[in-house]
């Protein structure tokens, strides 16, 4: 209705030293936590540190990929409601090069053939296992490094390009930028789906190289998107707490973010998790069932049960009501909730393969988590400084500001 209307924003839409202060603190805490994690976890090649760091890294990678997906799908669908929240997502998605840097503690031990987690990277273990020998063509160190470089290269370029084009529109005001980004996002979405799937297979599923599940990438994706929506909601709340975007972002936008948290973090995740489980349970093939057997026995039984309750049953009823999604405090609670169960979920994906029966909890798990999240948030906050937090000349901005849920 209000297409291309000139918009006059009264809000404060820039943030300066407050962002860089947060950024410096978070980066400092992050680096110290990772160094401490490496010290208590047996050095940069210690098995404990490598495992703890892998969980923490896949956690922030999921958030980053979730943000990149969010930006891509908004352009692809020419979405109007999300314009006021899209810039913040673009800024956080541009963390992809930082994530490439953060991946080094995972990649370097593999590249040097010193990883104790990825059995396929150790030739002496490959010869003992017919399954690993069979997969050696794909799971070879050099091919692995090429793939990883491709994934992070693609994601970095795409996220940076989205941010740059969107920022250019703030000055030029060209409406064609929307069109060209929409055209770009279609093939990018396909490439994103393929790279995310294979990356989750390479970094997560290959720990247990005898196991395979074709839906694994979708499982990782569900958690990625849910945690990105959660962190986006919390970021907007933080900015509004600092007096930014006071009117531009209102409860209608939070309502939509909450719907997506519910849809992806609760329903879609459960649907995919159960689909993966049921087909393996019904097929009853040993090379697949052992993966669930590890997770349904010993102490891991408790974690699996907790995931069912905390990733599905409790948040399903907790986030179902629109009143919960339209209230900032309750939405913040469930955003934190999802971000925490996502970590448990990734811990549950990685650790049972390395330690059957017992939960190998170690202080390095928490230190690495704090470390990667600190660096992720710190880098995003630094980038936020001095930028418009809303795409001021996007032709759809007026629609987004006036957006109402039915």
């Amino acid at each position: 209705m209000a297409h291309g209307k000139e918009v006059h924003l009264e809000d404060n839409i820039q943030i300066g030293d407050e962002a860089s202060d947060l950024g410096k603190k978070a980066l400092g805490v992050g680096v110290v936590a990772i160094v401490l994690g490496a010290v208590v976890g047996g050095g940069p090649f210690g098995k404990q540190f490598n495992a703890s760091y892998l969980v923490a890294f896949m956690y922030v990678l999921a958030i980053g990929l979730g943000f990149l997906w969010f930006v891509t799908i908004q352009h692809l669908t020419n979405a109007k409601w999300s314009v006021v929240v899209r810039r913040v997502a673009e800024i956080i998605a541009a963390n992809m090069p930082v994530l490439a840097l953060l991946s080094l503690p995972v990649i370097i031990p593999i590249a040097l053939g010193q990883s104790e987690i990825y059995e396929w990277s150790d030739p002496s273990k490959v010869v003992q296992s017919p399954a690993l020998e069979h997969k050696a063509g794909y799971l070879s160190i050099s091919f692995f490094l090429v793939r990883i470089a491709f994934y992070f290269g693609f994601w970095s370029l795409l996220s940076r390009y989205f941010l740059k084009q969107s920022m250019d529109q703030d000055t030029s005001g060209k409406a064609e930028i929307n069109k060209s980004l929409q055209a770009l996002s279609a093939p990018s979405m396909i490439a994103f789906a393929i790279t995310l799937t294979f990356c989750s297979i390479d970094l997560l599923m290959s720990i247990d190289a005898e196991f395979y599940s074709t839906i694994f990438g979708v499982y990782y994706f569900a958690g990625a998107v849910a945690s990105a929506y959660s962190l986006l909601s919390l970021s907007l709340m933080w900015l509004q707490g600092k007096g930014r975007l006071s009117h531009a972002v209102n409860r209608e936008h939070y309502h939509d973010l909450g719907k997506m948290m519910f849809a992806f973090g609760v329903v879609f995740w459960s649907y995919i998790a159960f689909s993966q489980f049921m087909l393996i349970w019904y097929g009853d093939l040993p090379e697949e069932t052992h993966w669930f057997h590890d997770r349904f026995n010993g102490d891991w039984k408790i974690v699996s049960g907790a995931l069912l309750g905390c990733h599905f049953v409790i948040p399903f009823f907790g986030l179902l009501s629109r009143h919960v999604k339209r209230n900032r405090k309750t939405l913040a609670f469930w955003a934190f909730w999802i971000l925490i169960v996502e970590f448990v979920d990734l811990y549950w994906l990685v650790m049972p393969t390395l330690s059957k029966d017992e939960i190998p909890f170690h202080i390095a798990d928490i230190l690495c988590w704090i470390g990667t999240v600190g660096i992720f948030i710190g880098a995003a906050a630094m980038r936020m400084k001095g930028k418009n937090l809303v795409p001021t000349k996007d032709p759809r901005l007026a629609d987004s500001l006036a957006f109402l849920n039915p």
């Binding site: 049921m278 019904y282 629109r322 039915p406």
Partner: protein
Amino acid sequence: MSEAPKKTKHTGPAPLHGLLAEYETPNALIHGAEKVRNAGFRDWDTFSPFPVHGIDGAMGIKATILPWLILGGGMTGFTLALGFQWWANGVDYPFLISGKPYWSVPANIPITFELTVLFAALTAVFGMLALNKLPQPAHPLDLRDRFSRATDDRFYVLVQASDPAFDERDTRALLEQSGAVFVEEVPEDAASESELPRGILYVLLIIAAASTIPFAMAAYARESKTTKTRFDIIPDMDFQQKFKGQRMNTFFADKRADRPELEGTVAVGELHDDDHLYAGKVNGSFARTFPAAIKIDEATMNRGRERFGIYCTPCHGQVGEGDGMVHQRATSLAEGTWVPPSNITEERVRLIPVGELFNTVTNGVRNMPGYGHQIPAEDRWAIILYVRALQKSRAAELKDLSEQERESLIRGG
């Protein structure tokens, strides 16, 4: 419709139903609705060709209880689906499927999920209709010509005369001030029936009654006995134009549908004229050597070990001592008819010639069934080779060991 009322039950002018105000834009409608809301009316409504954002607030409509009904519908579907599957397969008619428990929750989830969604969706649709008091067969507004534009490009507010705050003159003034471009009186519809037409009612009743017939038939069939055969829904599937075994076929002289094998017929690859290889016999007595076609090497030994593991261990046990899982199970159940499997490493069996062992594997002995039809002859010989190795391992002497093995045995001991 302008000639209505065609037929009046009462004489004199129809009583007033309410006042209808027409607006040109959605914003004018919202503005008008706010005025009416603020004047404290209860019996009134708005009409528009499409959903107008913000009209709920402008009319002061409270949030609908529909979501709660949908939640209830979904939970009913969930409980019903899970409960019925539990009752049907776990309680009323326990049926073992693929060795799973009678009540196996993972298998029940898809149906539970579908019924949850179905009940929630049906509650949403029918709950919406019911809360909106639909279907409404007749409404006084149907008789107003102008009102047909409510499906096109105009927006309306109707204030009913039944509202306690209604006053014909004051309400008209209020509507005119609220930005309406036109205000008119709406008389009650005296001509149309306000109830569902009898015909439709009867049809619905008949459908409802007929829908119980299948349930009644199922219930009757469960509780009654009959001498009739079942009826054939698809006769050409039940009675196919072909001859089955053990039936008559007058086409042949012997009138049998199944044809006997011709004398001397051999299927391709089934000649089996090498007695040594296929029967374990040389010149009519059991062979003491392996046939020439069987290579005595490590590959055959591994093959034999693998086949032994698949076919023999369930009864004879991993090393052939006759203590397999089946034997243990039968012993624990104290089955009187159980003949224990032989310990194939004992001396009696060690002295049996390989040809006779082969014959036993092929045709069975005592309780043991023959395996000739499911294990190829080469594999049977491989099993015999492995059995010989097992026997040797149980009766080995010190001189059979290599120098190294002997030393390690002494040191280990």
